[in-house]
């Protein structure tokens, strides 16, 4: 188990528990009453920690190395998934995956950022940072979905679009811009979920939809707290303050009306019980699809464009 810095009290309880179990195995002492007592304490401590998370703590949770990623959810929620590869122009980006699948009776196109599950795979997936061909692959899949009348589901989890030389040369900005333009008028429902990190252009590049939801321990912002700290405070040391200032939690985003709702995670985060998380997510997807497919497509697109057109806070002078 991996413990985050704010889970230290939990970590020491687990250490005690492990020792106690060992004692139980190596001797005749009945440790079960003490174990039960410890388990109660663990549950209580976990609840306490998790009922009062700061913005920065949610950022850390969203990056938990054991957190479930897109391919896990696809596997758990759907059947007949066929992964499709390549953007047909340049290559196949490993940081964005997707393909057609069945979620119960719904035929959908499901895609999302993919991070690696171990050190080697994290490299292979470029830490979930897509290059232009990733966004172009995503768009190709969406256009295919449009052709076959399949709703699009986007799972978002990225620390940002990759800032590299080749990414720039192949038009990272153009790829993201094109997706925004095409997604705004895609003639099929689009459903988006922030399942981990929602960093800036890299996130919104597959994040424009009819409904957008955030899992409970995720964040969505124009910039990561670290980069914000570095630019505005001119130091890397203000990430906690930046996280608070950016109002990047699901609660903040929901209160702004930028996201449509928050999906509850198991206590301790999605990684504490990935299967339960997948079930919750699947339930939400089905509920939303039930509603979205009822809306005539022209009306849906109109609502989609109007929703984004109405986002902004300003005042009228004079």
């Amino acid at each position: 188990m991996v413990f985050l810095e704010f889970e230290k009290s939990l970590e020491s309880l687990y250490t005690q528990r492990n020792k106690l179990e060992q004692v139980g195995e190596e001797s005749d002492i009945d440790v079960s009453p003490m174990l039960a007592e410890l388990d109660k304490k663990i549950t209580k401590t976990r609840k306490e920690i998790y009922s009062n998370l700061t913005g920065w703590q949610r950022v850390q949770l969203s990056r938990h190395p054991e957190r479930p990623y897109t391919l896990f959810y696809i596997e758990e929620m759907s059947k007949k998934f066929v992964e499709l590869h390549g953007d047909r122009y340049f290559g196949d980006d490993k940081a964005i995956v997707g393909g057609p699948a069945k979620i119960d009776n719904y035929h959908v196109m499901i895609l999302g950022h993919q991070k690696g599950v171990n050190t080697k795979l994290r490299q292979y997936r470029n830490f979930g940072m897509a290059n232009p061909e990733g966004y172009r692959k995503a768009l190709r899949l969406m256009k295919t979905a449009e052709r076959f009348n399949m709703p699009v589901i986007c799972l978002i989890d990225t620390p940002g679009a990759y800032p590299g030389i080749e990414a720039e040369e192949r038009g990272q900005a153009e790829a993201i811009a094109r997706n925004l333009f095409e997604m705004a008028k895609l003639r099929i429902p689009i459903l988006c979920y922030i399942i981990g990190e929602g960093a800036s252009g890299g996130a919104i590049g597959i994040g424009l939809g009819d409904r957008v939801f955030m899992l409970e321990n995720t964040w969505y912002s124009v910039i990561s707290p670290e980069s914000c700290s570095s630019i505005l405070w001119r130091s890397w040391d203000y990430k906690e303050q930046a996280a608070e200032m950016l109002k990047l939690t699901p609660q903040d985003m929901h209160s702004f009306g930028i996201v449509d709702g928050i999906i509850a995670e198991p206590i301790g985060g999605a990684h504490a019980d990935p299967n339960a998380m997948a079930k919750t997510l699947k339930k939400s997807i089905k509920t939303q699809l039930n509603e979205l497919v009822q809306i005539p497509i022209d009306q849906l697109i109109k609502q989609r464009i109007e929703k984004y057109a109405s986002i902004g806070k300003y005042e009228l002078a004079e």
Binding site: I165, F181, L246, K247, M253, I311
Partner: protein, 296 residues
């Protein structure tokens, strides 16, 4: 609303630049080029459309300067009533409100973008032009809303639309709201496209971040000035990520042209004529009857 006058006109008439706006351009008598270090008079510089008379470096100029260069004589500014608000009470080393107040005072502008309508070669054009001097030309709610309103006006009046981009990217002090302006402006551009109205995207030095990754790259025609920096990530961020020196000419307009992301690069002296030509060719005489123009 504000009235402007072409600087050509003013130059001819010997009228000084309006003092109401503190322009991005140099004040005073002398100008030293940052590129070639040559000194020239500001008068010479202006006569040369704010390009160094010696090395042709295109000096950064503001929205009103561009309006003066592009439009025939008079132009009218719109939507100046929109003002940014510090609704998140964002504070880093300074508060957002302080930054705004300072920028109003320093620039005399209302925000990082100005929308104006005028004529180019007697053809109507609506232009939204960004100002780098206003918090780095950053895109917040006001920038997004002004673009949205300008697009509505273009559709209503069936008038071609142009954006002059010049931006460091998103306005962090508006957090997710600034991010959402990427979606907002792109979504509004689909309406302009559906209405069959040309959209010209003119990318000037510098155009980076969320602005490049939304409306700036979505023109029916994308064009730029020589040597303009255009990119998604800033050069410093890329250098820190890859821990290597960046190649010569990286993220410069000339590279983007070579890589296929720009239609052409135009010298500022030819800008007005080029826009005039585009407006002419993109508006075939029988466009209304939707038949294809074919010469036999």
């Amino acid at each position: 609303m504000m009235e402007g006058q072409s600087w050509f006109q003013r130059f001819k008439d010997g009228i000084q630049t309006a003092t109401k706006f503190k322009r991005e351009t140099p004040d005073g008598l002398w100008f030293q080029c940052t590129e070639c270090k040559t000194t020239s008079t500001v008068k010479e510089l202006k006569k040369n459309v704010y390009k160094c008379p010696n090395c042709n470096k295109h000096i950064r100029i503001g929205s009103h300067d561009y309006f003066d260069i592009i439009f025939d004589g008079k132009w009218t500014e719109y939507f100046t009533e929109l003002k940014s608000v510090d609704f998140l009470e964002f504070a880093d080393l300074k508060s957002y409100q302080e930054r705004l107040d300072k920028s109003y005072k320093k620039t005399g502008l209302h925000d990082a973008i100005c929308v104006a309508k005028g004529k180019v070669g007697r053809k109507s054009l609506i232009v939204a032009a960004m100002d780098f001097k206003f918090i780095g030309g950053s895109m917040g709610s006001v920038v997004g809303e002004k673009i949205a309103k300008a697009i509505d006006m273009a559709i209503e009046e069936n008038t071609p639309f142009m954006i002059i981009s010049k931006s460091g990217g998103a306005r962090m002090m508006e957090s997710a709201f600034s991010l959402m302006q990427m979606a907002k402006t792109s979504a509004k551009l689909t309406q302009l496209a559906d209405a069959g109205i040309p959209y010209l995207s003119f990318l000037t030095d510098p155009t980076t971040g969320g602005v490049t990754a939304s409306f700036a790259m979505l023109g029916d025609i994308n064009f730029s000035e020589p040597d303009a920096l255009i990119g998604f990530a800033g050069p410093r961020v890329i250098k820190e990520t890859i821990k290597k020196e960046l190649p010569a000419g990286f993220q410069k307009a000339e590279s983007l042209l070579e890589n296929g992301f720009l239609d052409f690069i135009v010298d500022r002296a030819d800008l007005k004529q080029r826009i005039d030509d585009l407006l002419t060719v993109l508006n075939p005489p029988n466009a209304t009857d939707k038949t294809v123009v074919q010469k036999k």
